[in-house]
Amino acid sequence: MSLLANQEAPRVARTSRLTLANRQALTGYLLVVPALALLLALVAYPFFFAISISFTDRVVGQPGNWIGLDNFRYLSQNPSFLKTIQNTIIMVVVSDILKLFIGLGLAMLLNQAVRGRGLMRAVILLPWAMPGFVAFLVWKLLYMPIGGAFNQILTKTNIYPEIIDYLGQRSTALPAVILATTWRGFPFWAISFLAALQGVPGELYEAAKVDGASSWQRFWDITLPSIKPVILIVVLMSSIWTANSFENIWIMTQGGPSDATMVFPVLAYFGMQSQRLGEAAAVSVAMIPALLILVFFVTWLVEDDD
């Protein structure tokens, strides 16, 4: 039996080696086809479909006509749209900076050998663990003029005796929304940074200490460069999420008061509700260039770093 197999082996191997590579490739293709088909049909195709709709005056039920850049021309003169761009930039930049400092600080704090850091790690994950819509509902309640915790505490302790409608007035709505968004988002930053910090070999620090490097120098020359790839990826992904987050705005303000907290997804959603699909698509599509720059800039940086 085994003798026979041994005699057969060379011939079988030679004929099947060629087909083995092919068969391997074929199996590889077959395994990836379901995922690929779904993503091509429901992500890649809609992506380009959105671009093509944005050049038409399509409304619900009618394909519409090609109108070139008219939608974009209209948007560029629309104060609501300009406000949306401004809000998005402020929201992304401010919340990114807040989350970067809080996240880095917390990660370095929890990277110390102190008792209770396991518990603390679990605690700071709470905002990230709860559903976004729940977090923003709770913050909406906290901000309420009547029955909201912030107003109750501030008036009760006489720190600020007047009732503030945080989400209802133009001057405070955007900061309030950013604060809630930061509260929900910082755990992801802190925990990612912490995981990265724990991967930095301790000998590096010991060596630097022997060389007389100050703690600031150690942070600047060892910590930051070691976790730079993770920082960049977290910044990139979080910026994309923040710029496209729908539920925080939808639940807390629906873009209001007037358009003080309007963002792209909510504006596009309103456009769709008013049946003007071409215009609504143009709102989303207008964001693509910025998104592409974000994606390519950071992937380039990361690859350059390796």
């Binding site: 391997q24 395994l31 690929l36 917390l106 102190v114 905002p127 309640l141 990612s192």
Partner: protein, 301 residues
């Protein structure tokens, strides 16, 4: 630091004066650092926990108590809000719909993503790099870019206003993420065992199901939990594609509670608690693996 210097000092019994004073300044500095560290930790803990505490507290309060001061502790805690939510707002239907959608998405997504990740990690073919990049790009493509064209496509395919359609739509964000994370896990498993099994006559699919998947079970569980959570939490697609009241998922049900003229904060917070509890429990079971997978995927992907 202190522990490395302390034993010799204790052993000699009478440390030299220099050593003693050095130890003293060191402990004082350590004490200050410790106070600062715990002070900061406490502050962060309060900031994190307060809103969550507030959610629980309001969910146990009757309307007249919600607006009364002082407000920190419910005076007459009651389950009335939960009762109203379930008996009068049909919240159990929302929960049932969410469970159906989220678990279907999880099962289908894990299966498809395991295949795709296995293919990307273990097979050699021409478009492998392209496929990997496409999956990353689709992961970075936000749903808010897609919902307008998807509304047209969904209407054309007759998938609108059905839980079945929602499951398919949710695969658009769950498959890229799951595939990405699973690739990280699969890559960390050495291929020797699969190769051995295939020498012994197992097919490639057999190697996936009998070797790779059992070895990546913790990772698979974490990805599954993460997928379930993401589907459970999704609001935008549900808002656009579900129109019947009896098909509303949990986020949608709650969303409709806040669009009314009068905000019933008691029932809303009761709904928030019920919506948050299951996924928060799941999340804590998975968080260890999640963080590992996140960084593994992001560094290698």
């Amino acid at each position: 630091m202190a522990t490395t210097t302390a034993p010799p000092a204790a052993a000699t019994g009478q440390p030299s004066g220099r050593l003693r004073s050095r130890l003293r300044t060191r402990t004082r500095r350590n004490l200050l650092t410790l106070i600062a560290v715990y002070g900061l930790m406490l502050l962060v803990a309060v900031i994190v926990i307060f809103p969550i505490y507030w959610m629980f507290s309001i969910s146990l309060k009757l309307p007249r108590e919600i607006y009364r001061l002082p407000a920190l502790i419910p005076q007459n805690p009651t389950w009335d809000n939960y009762r109203e939510l379930i008996n009068e707002r049909g919240y159990l239907t929302n929960i049932r719909n969410s469970i159906i959608v989220a678990s279907s998405v999880t099962v289908v997504s894990l299966l498809i993503s395991s295949f795709a990740a296995y293919s990307i990690v273990r097979f050699r073919y021409r478009f492998r790099g392209f496929v990997g990049r496409l999956i990353l790009l689709t992961y970075l493509t936000p749903g808010s870019l897609l919902f307008i064209p998807l509304s047209i496509i969904v209407a054309r395919l007759n998938l609108g206003n059905s839980l079945y359609g929602l499951v398919i739509l949710y695969l658009t964000f769950s498959i890229p993420l799951s595939t990405w994370l699973l690739s990280g896990y699969f890559r960390s498993v050495p291929p020797d065992l699969e190769e051995q099994a295939m020498v012994d006559g197992t097919t490639q699919l057999g190697a996936l199901f009998r070797i790779l998947i059992p070895l990546s079970l913790p990772g698979l569980a974490a990805v599954g939990i993460f997928t379930f959570t993401a589907a459970w939490n999704e609001l935008l697609f549900a808002l656009i594609f579900i129109t019947s009241e009896d098909l509303r998922t949990v986020p949608l049900g709650l969303q409709y509670l806040i669009t009314g003229d009068v905000l019933l904060w008691g029932p809303i917070m009761a709904g928030a608690v019920l919506a948050a509890l299951p996924v928060m429990v799941l999340y804590f079971l998975a968080q260890r693996f999640m963080v590992q997978g996140m960084t593994a995927g992001s560094v290698k992907g």
